[in-house]
């Protein structure tokens, strides 16, 4: 898959090339930080509106600088180190949570004109390049790997605190991540199956028209599963069991204070933005404009090179709102409900859907009759559903007979 490699890095490494890469890194870092700041404000303001409150409105216009004020306050607070803490890991964990939040953004295409034959390649300072930091052929595998590394930050933070509640929070975090990572990866697999590539720019490139957007092309179900699993992966409500205040004081970050706490806070919101961008890239065409047939929607007054970025921004904003909306609406799940949803519903459904898409693909390749393939698939799915139901019933009956262990 050489095509999807960034053309910038196939040339000689001159000073300009290195400067461009450094510029990209800088822009992603700065924009990421500012976006996180605005996201915190956006979330607080939106959720305040949903709960009939005013929200932050004192610092700066409309309270925009509230996060900055909070950050400065946290920076000057006393940094406490619990006596029982494992000192190195305790200090290291926030960074383990903070850095992956930014790393995942490296593979997201944040702009470029994907409409023509250029495939999103733009020319900066005489060098052809993509509007993304890196474009490895296994792009999304990288994003997936990074997002699971983030759980180490939470896990180690809870463990190294040397305290009960943080430990419980981090144990929950690891169990939750393992459960939902599978559903996440399987619904992601459906996208890869349809797109035929794992490179992020490749995935964006194939989603040309509205019908090619993977939310339609994979049949909506993988998107819904991905959205739910991603919410769980982010530890956001209604899946924020990790920091369930009513049960665990503050969750894994109970013992953290000052700037280390701020880093966790920042990472959480940065992760939300990153995950929204991932969803948009996977299912909604990333920087692609809305196009039906051959007519593409064109935003007036904005040069074509910037238009991709505007489209991505708009789509990401929609998902950021959705995350806030979920938080404002849904109550937190109980722990057994969380596990039931993950293992008994999301994983079987995403696996089944993945198989269905695979069967369709193989059928098309071999020239089988689509109708027959679909009928057989549905029959198989129905049998599987019945088997799963029977298994659940048997295990429930067994539990009943043995009596509750609690």
């Amino acid at each position: 898959m050489i095509i999807s490699l960034d053309p910038l890095l196939t040339e000689d490494f001159t000073a300009t090339v290195i400067a461009i890469v450094l510029l990209k890194v800088l822009v992603i870092f700065v924009v990421g930080l500012v976006a996180t700041m605005l996201m915190v404000w956006f979330e607080r303001k939106t959720i305040a509106g949903m709960q009939n409150r005013v929200g932050p409105n004192k610092a700066g216009p409309f309270g925009l600088l509230q996060t900055l004020a909070d950050g400065i306050k946290l920076f000057f607070k006393e940094d406490l180190l619990p006596v029982k803490a494992d000192k190195f890991v305790f200090r290291f964990a926030p960074y383990l949570s903070f850095v992956p939040a930014f790393l995942a953004f490296a593979v997201i295409p944040v702009g470029g004109d994907f409409r023509g034959d250029t495939g999103g390649i733009v020319t900066w300072f005489g060098h052809a390049t993509r509007v993304q930091l890196a474009d490895p052929p296994v792009g999304f595998l990288f994003a997936l790997a990074i997002s699971s590394i983030a759980v180490y930050g939470i896990m180690l933070a809870g463990w190294s605190s040397g305290s009960k509640y943080p430990l419980l929070g981090s144990v929950r975090a690891s169990a939750q991540m393992i459960s939902y990572e599978a559903a996440l990866a399987l619904s992601f697999g459906a996208v890869v199956l349809v797109a035929g590539t794992m490179s992020t720019s490749g995935i964006v490139n194939v989603q040309e028209t509205l019908g090619d957007w993977h939310v339609v092309a994979t049949g909506f179900v993988p998107f819904v599963i991905f959205l739910m699993a991603a919410t769980a992966e982010l530890n956001r409500p209604p899946f924020d069991l990790v920091e369930a205040e009513q049960e665990l004081v503050g969750g894994f970050n109970t013992e953290y204070s000052s700037i280390r706490f701020a880093l966790f806070f920042l990472a959480e919101f940065m992760n939300t933005i990153t995950m929204s961008a991932v969803i948009v890239t996977l299912f909604f065409g990333g920087p692609q404009p809305i196009r039906i047939g051959d007519t593409a929607l064109d935003i007036p007054l904005i040069p074509n090179d910037l238009e991709g970025t505007v489209w991505l921004l708009g789509k990401v904003l929609v998902f950021l709102y959705v995350y806030v909306w979920l938080r404002g609406t849904l109550p937190r799940l109980r722990y057994d409900q969380l596990m039931n949803l993950g293992w008994k519903l999301l994983i079987p459904t995403s696996l089944g859907w993945f198989m269905l898409l695979a069967a369709q693909n193989v059928g098309q390749d071999r020239g089988w009759n689509t109708g027959v393939v679909t009928a057989v698939s549905i029959a198989v799915i129905l049998i599987c559903v019945m088997i799963v139901q029977a298994a659940l019933k048997v295990s429930a009956a067994n539990r009943e007979r043995e009596g509750s262990v609690f």
């Binding site: 509106g49 949903m50 709960q51 409150r53 004192k58 609406t329």
Partner: protein
């Protein structure tokens, strides 16, 4: 659509202006220029427990007799009282003894109001002021000279306290009206001593009267 109905409920709130919270930032002016507006505060509940005052009788005598019952009942151990004998020529309080030292440590006080209940002379009561954000320990420990009402019977307004209209009202020992010492007929009768300042508040009506009024 039972599952998704909740989403509609939350998104519908956006345009509405029925805010349940008020503009509040601790007494500062929050709008400058044309509409110079101070913070709004919501009306305080009738029985709010705020900062204490030491009351005087209508003739200006102090009510405190230095019996230390408040200090004894205080669960947070934040009250320190020492009594002393009155000077017969120039008494501070009617009777034999008066509160010579009276200190409340507001770093400890939990505003449970047990001291008010314990007080046999209704000397200590609570105002509705809860915004007194002191910045050092010296300010946090209120002495008798700060707690005692002034010569007109109003609480002293210290520089770090945010007093608003009506927060010193209804500080008298009103709860005696609802604590009839086991006598049901006592309900609705003011059973407390006279007080300098706002005077004695009318007792709360009985439960049956309040129910009839629909409150």
């Amino acid at each position: 659509m039972g599952y998704l109905g909740g989403f509609l409920v939350t998104i519908r709130q956006h345009g509405k202006r029925n805010r349940v919270t008020t503009e509040y930032s601790g007494g500062r002016v929050f709008k400058r220029g044309k509409g110079d507006k101070k913070d709004q505060k919501i009306e305080k509940p009738e029985r709010l427990h705020g900062r204490h005052v030491l009351n005087r009788y209508e003739d200006g005598m102090e009510k405190c007799i230095g019996c230390e019952l408040c200090a004894g009942v205080c669960p947070a151990k934040c009250i320190y009282v020492r009594g002393a004998d009155n000077d017969p020529e120039n008494p501070t309080s009617p009777g034999e003894r008066y509160g010579f030292v009276y200190e409340i440590n507001y770093l400890r006080c939990i505003h449970c109001d047990l001291c008010v209940e314990a007080c046999p002379t209704e000397a200590i009561t609570e105002t509705k002021l809860f915004e007194f954000s002191f910045t050092n320990r010296r300010d946090a420990i209120y002495t008798k000279s700060e707690l005692l009402v002034d010569s007109s019977g109003k609480p002293q307004q210290l520089p770090w306290e945010d007093w608003r209209e009506g927060e010193d009202l209804h500080t008298s020992g009103w709860m005696r009206a609802t604590a009839p010492s086991g006598d049901a007929d006592f309900e609705g009768v003011a059973g407390w001593s006279g007080e300098l300042g706002h005077g004695v508040r009318a007792p709360e009506p009985g439960q049956d009267i309040r129910d009839a009024e629909g409150n």
